[in-house]
């Protein structure tokens, strides 16, 4: 029964998401595109944060590099869109392998600092290598070509692009969900709770952490590959540590203990940002207050708090 309700709710949400271009004001097509992409970015981050217990402050490196990869391929090679996304994922995966290999051996604050340092190194490269990355301006002025696989889509139409993003984020989330629910995902959870015990059980904790790190980086790269054609710019800000903080905030807002938590966090984050900046410039102040309240009173995030309340009501 419970599974059926959850499934029904999920289908309803998906139906509503598919219908956004027809039922909501056109502006919300852009808002929901951003929510989905940032949601995927946050979910990929939560694989290492919520599941494995590694707090990375450099996750935007993969997101940003993914966006630059797509932008560069679109500018210089004009490959189909799907090919661009594969390049983004590939480049991010390799980068995650390198950074992860050097970082996962450390724990907690050392791991956080090391990922922050690597993230800022990638940022500095993008910021300074003007001839390739466009320096502080980033890369802009690319046009979207074909989709790939012989499917005829006008990607420059925002509603079409939204549906493409919805489909790709949906598939990617499903893959991530399967990973989280697999025995591999269970080991990750066990590592978060007690790495020593996992090690005593004969499993190589470092390898598991590295693989989780690479998977997270790859999907962050995919999110980056989706954001560049959406923003029409790949800029160093996408790599900056302040962008790395966004999935952290989104995960905490939505609830780190739930697979869909970061998506909820992303939705709340983007919607609040849009609404609040229409009234006041001090969006960060409001965000800070909300976050402080969340961490003090609602440790399980919005989704977790809601589910607890729901269970309570049903009783």
């Amino acid at each position: 029964m419970k599974a059926k309700v959850v499934l029904a709710c999920l289908l309803l949400v998906i139906a509503a998401l598919v219908a956004v271009p027809w039922i909501a004001s056109y502006f919300y097509v852009f808002i929901f595109t951003e929510i989905l992409i940032m949601g995927l970015f946050a979910v990929s981050f939560n694989l290492i944060f919520g599941y494995t217990g590694m707090l990375s402050f450099g996750h935007a490196a993969f997101f940003g590099v993914g966006s630059y990869a797509t932008a560069l391929v679109l500018i210089h090679l004009q490959w189909p869109f799907l090919a661009c996304l594969l390049v983004s994922m590939g480049v991010s995966a390799v980068l995650a392998l390198v950074i992860g290999y050097l970082s996962v051996r450390l724990n907690e604050v050392y791991f956080a600092m090391l990922t922050l340092a690597f993230g800022m190194m990638i940022f500095a490269i993008a910021y300074q290598w003007r001839s390739i990355t466009g320096g502080s301006d980033g890369l802009a002025g690319f046009t979207l070509g074909s989709f790939g696989l012989g499917i005829d889509l006008t990607l420059s139409n925002p509603a079409v692009y939204y549906h493409v993003v919805l489909a790709i984020v949906g598939i990617a989330s499903l893959v991530l969900y399967v990973i989280c629910r697999s025995s591999f995902g269970l080991v990750l959870k066990a590592i978060r709770q007690n790495p020593e015990r996992v090690a005593f059980a004969g499993l190589n904790v470092r390898t598991y952490r590295l693989v989780a790190f690479i998977i997270a980086g790859t999907f962050a790269g995919l999110a980056g590959g989706l954001i560049a054609p959406f923003l029409r710019v790949a800029s160093p800000e996408l790599i900056h540590w302040s962008t790395s903080a966004e999935p952290v905030l989104m995960s905490i807002l939505g609830g780190t203990g739930y697979f869909l938590g970061p998506f909820i966090g992303s939705a709340v984050f983007v919607l609040l940002e849009t609404w609040i900046t229409s009234f006041t410039g001090s969006w960060m102040l409001v965000l800070g207050i909300i976050l402080a309240l969340m961490v003090v009173f609602f440790r399980k995030g919005l989704l977790g708090t809601f589910l607890d309340w729901w269970m309570e009501v049903k009783k």
Binding site: I23, R232, E237
Partner: protein, 407 residues
């Protein structure tokens, strides 16, 4: 389970239909124009001056019957000087606020990102400040126009002036983004063309835009062999730069200094007599340079309203609103593509004289103004410009072929 969902869907569909119907314009609805400027941070005075120019034009037009019998209403968004923010702002203005046209953009980096998205929005954009040649070059499109001087025009004028000085070793201090880099590239190319003997030093200085401390760059130039410096630092940065440079004795050295946007009244007002005398200052429009009725009226009204003389940014923004008035009245509609088409090749009278949007690249043929900083103005509290030169906008422009624009 199914019934209420269906009802919900019906309700939303009806709501959507009503909303769409509600947006179709009635004659008495105002014409909405979206303005995207830097309204926060170190360059925010530019956004404020643009707003002042626009508000003046809007109140003048609204008092004399509006456009096509409708008032103008402005809606502003802060670009924060970031392309991604500006693109989102443009989408919000067009799709959520239903604006009929856009004006704005203070930064080349922002313009490069936003201009390629204009055809998707199907609304005209008149750029009033951002100067990168690319947006009326490789990136040009039928919806993007520029009413202000671009880097290529201004640097051709600058190169002419530089070639008449004794300086042989040139370097630059400019913001570390497209504007700073492109200013130096165009300046160097044009200067070499006129005078192949000059030495363009490889030691260039590009502090981050918004950097507060310019002293390392100032020291580096003072220690080098440079005898000519192109300074394209602008906005609040330029104010900081001049203060720090004068503290370090930079202006006592025997250097030819060319400030590519130094005669912006925003900067001159902030600096007062701390802006040194005897340096080359440029601006896209100098309020004292044009002896025509429109300019006299504009400058007078502006000073009466705000207490200080208008800057080029205020003038560009002011003129852009009048450009829309003329184009919308010519088109007889506020429909985006029709207004964009009416702007094509349009000639109008503006404070800086007769302005024509060139058909080949939609760049207005407007004149860079260069002068030498003189004594303080007795009333306005800013430096005057002496030896004022008004370059012919068309003469200093790239040819349409050179721009790479294909319209």
């Amino acid at each position: 389970m199914k019934q209420p969902n269906l009802r919900k869907l019906m309700v939303s569909m009806v709501t959507a239909a009503t909303l769409t119907a509600g947006t179709s314009a009635y004659a008495e609805d105002p014409i909405r124009i979206g303005g995207i400027y830097i309204l926060s941070g170190s360059a925010s005075t530019y956004g404020e001056f643009a707003q002042k120019g626009i508000d003046l034009a809007v109140s003048e037009i609204n008092e004399s019957g509006g456009i096509l019998g409708r008032d103008i209403e402005m809606i502003y968004e802060d670009s924060q000087g970031k392309a991604s923010v500006a693109i989102q702002a443009a989408r919000k203005l067009v799709h959520s606020e239903d604006v009929d046209a856009l004006v704005g953009l203070d930064s080349s980096g922002v313009a490069q990102g936003m201009v390629p998205t204009m055809p998707e929005l199907q609304k005209p954009l008149i750029i009033t400040h951002a100067a990168t040649p690319d947006v009326t070059g490789e990136l040009c499109n039928p919806f993007t126009y520029r009413i202000s001087v671009n880097v290529a025009q201004n640097m051709k004028a600058a190169a002419k002036i530089a070639s008449e000085t004794d300086a042989k070793n040139w370097t630059t201090i400019g913001p570390d983004y497209s504007f700073g880099h492109q200013s130096w590239e165009y300046f160097g190319d044009y200067l070499k063309e006129i005078n192949p003997d000059v030495n363009l030093m490889s030691d260039t200085n590009f502090p981050r835009f918004g950097a507060e401390d310019f002293t390392p760059f100032i020291d580096r130039v003072m220690d080098s062999d440079a005898d000519g410096v192109l300074i394209s630092v602008w906005g609040g940065d330029l104010v900081n730069f001049v203060r720090q440079a004068s503290n370090r004795g930079f202006f006592e050295k025997d250097l030819e200094l060319m400030f590519t946007v130094g005669a912006a009244t925003e900067v001159l007002t902030a600096l007062g007599d701390r802006m040194p005398e005897g340096v080359h200052l440029s601006t896209r429009y100098w309020y004292d340079a044009y002896d025509n009725d429109i300019n006299k009226r504009f400058v007078k009204a502006y000073i009466e309203e705000y207490g200080n003389p208008p800057s080029y940014n205020a003038e560009g923004a002011y003129a852009a609103i009048y450009a829309y008035k003329q184009a919308m009245e010519a088109a007889g509609t506020t429909d985006g593509p029709a207004v964009a088409k009416a702007l094509r090749g349009m000639t109008m009278e503006a404070p800086n004289g007769t302005v024509t949007f060139r058909e080949g690249d939609n760049q207005a043929m407007v004149s860079p103004n260069w002068g030498i900083s003189g004594p303080m103005h007795p009333e306005h509290g800013i430096r005057t410009l002496t030896d004022l030169q008004i370059f012919d906008g068309e003469e200093v422009a790239r040819s349409v072929e050179e721009t790479g624009c294909k319209l």
